[in-house]
């Protein structure tokens, strides 16, 4: 028997949407949140998909997320936006903010938004990719609860702070980078832990700040803020470039929490029963303000082909372009998405507690 169940996208969408609605979220916001979660599963990023449904529903129940929060424009100029999510789900406020950023960039060629008092927004790439339809470059970043230790530090003070940039292509798939600025995201440790595997050196440290290969220990320490955590991209030393990943994490804290006057560093997600005050940053740039879109797309295609079709290192038969694996998965899972059996069981159970029946 396979570990996976194939579930129809529309049945899954109706179910997840209903779970949010039953939790007090508006129909529109429920739909947006469901789509962001399921798009993540479609793109093969199961760690950010419906497997998190329970956490969101619990968050709505215990006060980390305010179900009926309405986002608010705190400050606006023709090219900038400061938005408060007022403690609501991260997905709706992020979706709506990126929509506004795209409108502004279509008119003024570049626009930037900072969002405060939000929550976990799912995959960063969902929002950067929204810009592609309008032929814009899209950028999306978020801070997260503190999970990453600064270089030479003992405690996790910075988020995994993903950065995403999406760029419109021609015949090739768009370029979509979506990366945590830590060597590995927390979800990877959870995966290794479930499988009972040790993690490679250079991923994480223990409570004393020394390299650890025990994912259960690291995850427990992170949860209790006992010390140690994930290492930044580049690892533990300056020799291996760890200060660069740490610097990228700082940039994200600055553009999200500092610029929005929200929470940053260890102040994100301080309480298990209060809004996490996660902060985001979005931007869009109009390609046509520089060169004709066709030319841009043809050139990006050229760069993609040059890299992808170049000679491989010994033992390798493929060079991947960023977003390629995800577009392949999404193409395969247009109608039905593969979920781990235990995820299907878990979300059915979440539905049952809410009185929502799964149509799968």
């Amino acid at each position: 028997m396979s570990d996976f169940t194939e579930v129809g996208n529309s049945e899954l969408d109706a179910f997840v949407t209903a779970c949010f609605e039953k939790s007090g979220v508006s129909k529109e916001d429920s739909r947006i949140t469901a789509d962001v979660l399921i798009e993540s599963d479609r793109r093969g990023i199961a760690s950010h998909g419906v497997a998190r449904l329970r956490r969101y529903i619990e968050g709505l129940r215990n006060g980390v997320m305010v179900p009926n929060a309405v986002h608010e424009v705190v400050k606006e100029t023709p090219t900038t936006l400061l938005i408060s999510g007022n403690g609501g789900l991260g997905q709706p406020v992020s979706y709506k903010t990126m929509k506004l950023v795209i409108e502004k960039a279509a008119k003024h060629n570049v626009a930037v938004a900072a969002v405060r008092n939000s929550n976990h927004y799912g995959i960063a790439g969902y929002y950067s990719m929204m810009a592609l339809k309008e032929n814009l470059l899209g950028i999306s970043m978020t801070n997260t609860s503190p999970l990453v230790v600064p270089t030479f530090g003992r405690n996790a003070l910075l988020g995994t702070n993903p950065i995403s940039l999406a760029a419109p292509s021609g015949r090739e798939q768009p370029f979509v980078l979506d990366m945590a600025t830590s060597t590995t995201p927390q979800g990877k440790l959870e995966e290794y832990n479930r499988r009972g595997k040790t993690i490679p050196e250079g991923w994480a440290t223990d409570a004393q700040g020394l390299t650890s290969t025990d994912p259960a220990l690291v995850l427990k320490n992170l949860k209790t803020r006992a010390g140690g955590g994930l290492l930044p991209l580049g690892g533990a030393s300056e020799e291996s470039g760890g200060h660069k990943g740490y610097g990228l994490a700082m940039i994200v804290e600055i553009l999200t929490g500092v610029l929005s006057a929200g929470a940053f560093g260890p102040d994100v997600g301080r309480s298990p029963n209060a809004p996490a005050n996660v902060c985001h940053f979005f931007a869009a740039i109009n390609v046509a303000a520089f060169i004709p879109l066709d030319q841009f797309a043809a050139q990006l295609d050229g760069l993609i082909r040059t890299v992808r079709d170049s000679a491989k290192a010994p033992g390798q038969d493929r060079i991947y372009i960023h977003g390629e694996k995800e577009f392949t998965a999404a193409g395969r899972q247009k109608e039905r998405v593969g979920l781990l059996n235990k995820v299907v069981e878990d979300i059915r159970d979440v539905g049952a507690t809410l009185g929502v029946k799964a149509g799968f």
Copy 2:
């Protein structure tokens, strides 16, 4: 006897400026270029300082850089600029473009520029830091000749593609990240090579695409484009996050060479006797369009202190903030800058061939 000579900043400035003027560069552009180079030495980044004077002067002689090039605004909107350097030195066009970006951002709150047909522009942080005086966030990126291999690839196809972001602080020094997106810049290999040391695993590959610890070999292969090169931040594997550094290098190629319709990937610096067509990207964001500057500065100070003053990993006694080491060096070298004796000899020799006498 020390390996270093202390040279007065103003004597060094007069000398370097005169070398550029004698090479056919205008007085203004010579001054700008000298200041960018010397500022690099002051900040302790000797690899990008006057040690490169010979390369620039030779570039001006052999056609890689056009001495009297005048930069040209190809396309302009209130918030965007597309500029051509027309083959001139990278520093003057970058300085002038960032000035314009800052003006635009002061008026419209955000502005973005792409520059094509330029050359090596020195330290990325010089330009991002220009925004600090105007209380803006500054961003600067450049592509470079191909030095970096994509993950699983054999050939160097991407530049070391530095990214810099500068953010205004209050009582603390500003936050200034300025990082190559490779694990290590080429200059580090040159340094190890001069000292006859092997380089750590994870920095570079040989012509076949296998890890190499021989800096001389890697540098020779890069020069002749024989295969191999520097590894992206995160190293050779996806496990260690190498695809992330490779993705960041792609972002820089896209925002510089692709967006400007200049050169990107292996087309940068193809010929040793023609303009290198290096491309840059600059941006500025007005903090005050979001929150009062004082509040931003106080919050950034708070983030800096929280990180810097946090518990250290075993064996470490300091956590560095990005830019901190460089501000310390610059504070120490306000009047006189320490140069390696052989750099002093070399630039004196360059001066002699141009009929410029060093006042040090």
